[in-house]
Symmetry: C2
Subunit: 299 residues, 2 copies
């Protein structure tokens, strides 16, 4: 069975009743499972995590827009986090039995229906982006809701779907497809923050490291240690084990050992299986040999 | 949802129509999935692999006995593999969402009903054994069908369920619960068979090694390399990564490298996740952080 994850970010993190109304819209959608939701009051933003098949998730996203539009007005919205829309960002993430191409198609289908039904302009981003300048969320969102009308006047920012002007109260939305993000931290048996920072620089994309790694060095002062805090944005192309080994190698160069690593939040099983395959030097191994996968495929 | 695996071994591996009749009995059982079956003509024996919940598997095993008894007569059965019954061995194996205790209870319940309905004496083995002398299948089966009547005359071998005499044509059956077995081979970058044999001796239980390891050194002559061929009978208590590291260590002592390792057949996901946790030095990691598990638990 196809399993896709969808993690909408909505521009409301303070009014409990509004957040509950949005989450209820997801809860009521058949064949979609609500996995988690959390609100940040200073960001005035909530993140909803759900999973299901493509048809179910499209319905859930439409229901979410229907619930959000009468309740969220960006003209009076304040918060620390950048945003351009009431339903700000909607990423679809392939988990199991689906390809990235499936998720891109789902993003486009969902965007089409949202634009048509709610007259909200939609930008496609990441893997669903229609041009390189729209891959990064930050670029689409620059100027925020307040600058959106001016931005859209530039033909470079004609939306992919929907009207050429912002929705009066709901702005615009960014819909797309991306790999699951793994929040992965490696703790070092030292209190030398400079070592963590140097290692972060060595492994991250922005300063010459691995393509799908964002990283920074931070101090865990209460434990007297430091951490290389990592976001892995594509664990298939830049796998966890390779990043771990690189950090271990760089740390050794300063006479420092890896103390431990930790995964924050969820991780796809495939990322861990990949690590096992690497370290055990497994050959001729097929994921169908995993008993649980075999059981699923025979279902 | 509880997932249990059941792998009956039946004393027929030559007559295709009989094997198909037995497999059909499993196929027709609701809520049980047939995963695999294979026959060995020289052993005159077939292995059927299925999965399901406890109630379904009990029904499938009863259906299997019903199909086997009129078709298999041990008085005329010949084959290289030791056996005492038409349905020779029935192990239940915990896979997901069930404990070993659940599987032991299922083994006892199934044994009770088989004995009552078919008048076949049953011995409980491995984790379901009622005394230490019955843990090992080999001990129960010693003397085979031909020696069974004499063996059962000894009160030491009174069956756990059913009549005190062998079933005339179907002998006796061995029912129990055990951990999944992992067939795991480690190939060495050398043609020195003595090294593989020495390493096998070092790691296996019978000569002082790990408790849940059976191992032997074999030559892969066509590839010009040797292999430590391993059966892991409890991957939770003797994990794959520990055995791999021990083999690597022992091999290094002879100046030999590990070339690769391979898993033959199926492996529970947990065994691979355990290897990832070890090598990545994961801390505070819960199996609930695996996205697929989270999806299942929310179902």
């Amino acid at each position: 069975m196809a399993i896709i994850e969808c993690v909408p970010n909505v521009s409301e993190g303070r009014r409990r009743d509004v957040v509950e109304a949005l989450v209820d819209a997801v809860r009521r959608t058949p064949s979609v499972r609500l996995l988690d939701y959390s609100s940040d009051a200073s960001h005035n933003r909530s993140v909803i995590t759900m999973a299901g098949d493509g048809a179910g998730l499209k319905d859930a996203v439409l229901a979410l827009f229907e619930a959000a539009l009468p309740r969220i007005d960006l003209r009076t919205h304040e918060g620390e986090h950048p945003r351009i829309g009431a339903v700000d960002v909607v990423p679809f993430i392939p988990i199991e039995g689906v390809t990235m191409a499936d998720c891109v198609a789902l993003a486009k289908q969902t965007a089409t229906e949202v634009a048509q039904r709610f007259q909200v302009p939609i930008y496609l981003y990441e893997e669903a982006a229609t041009r390189p300048s729209r891959r990064n969320l930050e670029d689409i969102r620059r100027g925020e809701f307040e600058g959106l009308a001016a931005k859209m006047a530039d033909s470079e920012w004609t939306p992919d779907f929907g009207p050429g002007l912002p929705h009066p109260s709901a702005g615009a939305s960014v819909v797309g497809a991306r790999m699951p993000l793994i929040a992965y931290n490696i703790n070092l048996a030292t209190d030398r923050l400079d070592v963590a920072k140097k290692i972060a620089r060595a492994i991250r994309y922005s300063s010459g490291g691995f393509r799908y790694v964002k990283a920074m060095g931070v101090s865990l002062a209460d434990r007297g240690i430091v951490q290389v805090s990592i976001n892995l944005t594509d664990y298939e192309k830049t796998p966890m084990f390779r990043v771990f080994e690189a950090v271990r190698q760089e740390a050794a160069r300063y006479g420092v050992n890896v103390l431990e690593s930790e995964i924050v939040g969820l991780v796809p099983a495939a990322a861990l299986v990949g690590a096992a395959e690497h370290f055990l030097q497994l050959t001729s191994f097929s994921r169908d040999q995993i008993l649980e996968n075999k059981l699923k495929s025979e279902a």
